[in-house]
Amino acid sequence: MNQAPKLNSFRGGPDEDGRFGIFGGRFVAETLMPLILDLQDEWNKAKDDPAFKAELAHLGAHYIGRPSPLYFAERLTAELGGAKIYFKREELNHTGSHKINNCIGQILLAKRMGKTRIIAETGAGQHGVASATVAARFGLPCVVYMGATDVERQAPNVFRMKLLGAEVKPVTAGSGTLKDAMNEALRDWVTNVDNTYYLIGTAAGPHPYPEMVRDFQAVIGQEAKEQMLAAEGRLPDLVVAAVGGGSNAIGIFHPFLDDESVKIVGVEAGGRGIEGDEHCASITAGSPGVLHGNRTYLLQDGDGQIKEGHSISAGLDYPGIGPEHAWLNDVGRVEYVPIMDHEALEAFQTLTRLEGIIPALEPSHALAEVIKRAPKMGKDEIILMNLSGRGDKDIFTVGKLLGMGQ
């Protein structure tokens, strides 16, 4: 128990109790324990099953559109005048973000387990759309819990989910964002344990979700590594990704964790500034605590009550972070930094105009960090950034913020 992951590797976690150092674990109600243990058994069997791997690869290639391209951002690189910037184009996946990688994997597991109903939580709606999509593809009913605030600010995604046949349940408890949607999904699961599979969208929650979601998303980093070697003959010097719960980030980071020459940076939502309460920078400005099944960095007050965060991006608007990120921070392998709303908004516009790519507001945070760092790096250095989602869902939010009329 509590043994550290394998020495000499940052990739050995979690241990058999689901811990990454002090983080992770299984902090759930007894009703859910047998389900989580079943899921773990099934996951352990599936991940080594050639038939499962083959089906996953087939759907990856023909349904998601994998591998996603590695793209050299020539004009952005020239504009910034420093390191060469490459994007891993996860925004070109079916449904427009990395979320589908995980959803395909988990729905195959749900089928193996004989579950007949899918539930999911969503913030920006990308995971909700991806869940509704795979539920439609596999013919299972799907209920998506979404904070009422997010239902409003992510209206296009709500419409997509409904078109896909999912039932979207707005959650008004708390501040009506991702944390509250997750609480409500857990309440549903505890009530419908017999037939329901909870398709968690990020690399957080009780063990085995953080490990399982990471492994489904690690395809991002595995492909990027091969593609980078093919394009440049070497590994990147810096890998950057935005972190909310952290699934796109752990997906691209994980295959690079043991490559010493690769510096890795996770970008948190700094909101309107990390001094006050209007941000979602759990690592930069939070402290360890227990929520939603795992111990990790949380935004909380001195009494252990969870605070509501703020971010311009609904996908980063969560007061916690995946437990593996918490551990990678504490052991010093990954650096986590905040980016403010206005910086992300500027980066969004820069990419749109220079490269003709409209990014989601989530990876716009990562991009803002790249824009800060690239000019200070040499022209022979390479940055790899996960462009985890496209910005179609955000155009109305951005339009309003920029004061654009009809």
């Binding site: 902090f27 109600a29 324990m33 309440r187 505890v190 227990v290 001195g302």
Partner: protein, 279 residues
């Protein structure tokens, strides 16, 4: 170490009836009203008191207890103040066992050792921490047992015979059988199913088995109490408190008497339970 709890269960069993366990949320709607409610409970017939510790994200609770927690937190309730409610109660009642019920994070942030020390000093007899399954016993359960505080575990319909021994391993005081898969405040299932489940648990332990989730009326209490060692009532009491408040959520003259009247009825229900079973 568990003298007060064990004695209460033994005394009530000697009366030939089930124990009435009553839950309310500490600090709902305010600190002083909570103290008054707690003091009123044993007088109305409660045998054991579950004192709720509010949490911002109560994942296993239904709307009634969620709202009670929000009212309590809005009124400035903290874990330290919840312990203070118990301490105030102990000034006049040394015999009624108190079980703190809630979620782990506020305890973790308070500090486990400091919490257990302060809880003992406040006269706490047991803990129910919803999000700490047996797999997490090193966190709080083992330290609590070492200090002489009961750790009461929930068993649920998903806790099968294979898992029950693990759930019961470090459980002391009593076993809390959750009558359904779901959140607090849902509808009560068929009492005969519950009787079967209670029998199944008793096949694995000598601890008393109390049943909760869905018990709202004296009639429910009577039906469940026919097979269980105890009946837990929570949401009905929380709803009673909520219905007595002003639109702004403030206590009224009806708040404490309303709880007393409800608990008196429930108490009559458990007191007739075994008579019903014998009929």
């Amino acid at each position: 170490m568990t003298a007060r709890m064990d004695k209460r269960f033994a005394d009530v069993a000697a009366e030939g009836r089930p124990v009435l366990v009553t839950y309310f949320m500490g600090g709902d709607p305010d600190f002083e009203t909570s103290v008054a409610i707690m003091k009123a409970l044993p007088k109305a017939g409660a045998d054991v008191i579950e004192l709720g510790m509010p949490f911002s994200d109560p994942m296993a609770d239904g709307p009634a207890i969620q709202l009670a927690g929000q009212r309590s937190l809005k009124g400035g309730q903290t874990l330290a103040k919840t312990l203070e409610i118990a301490r105030r109660f102990r000034e006049e009642d040394q015999r009624t066992p108190i079980v703190l019920m809630g979620y782990y994070n506020p305890i973790y942030i308070y500090g486990v050792d400091r919490f257990l020390t302060d809880a003992l000093a406040a006269g706490i007899d047991g803990l129910i921490v919803v999000d700490l399954p047996p797999e997490m016993d090193d966190e709080l359960c083992i330290p609590a047992l070492d200090k002489g505080i009961n750790f009461i575990r929930l068993a649920t319909p998903t806790t099968d015979d294979r898992r029950l021994p693990k759930v019961l391993e470090n459980t002391t005081g009593f076993v809390y059988y959750v009558s359904m898969n779901g959140i607090t405040g849902s509808a009560l299932p068929d009492p005969s199913l519950i009787a079967g489940a209670v029998g199944r648990i008793k096949g694995h332990t000598n601890l008393p088995v109390c049943v909760g989730f869905g018990v709202k009326t004296a009639e429910h209490a009577r039906a469940i109490g026919a097979s269980a060692d105890g009946v837990v009532v929570g949401t009905a009491i929380v709803n009673q408190i909520a219905s007595s408040l002003t639109e702004e959520g403030k206590a009224t003259d009806a708040t404490v008497p309303g709880v007393e009247a409800l608990v008196r009825g429930l108490s009559a229900g458990v007191r007739s339970a075994r008579l019903a079973a014998a009929e």
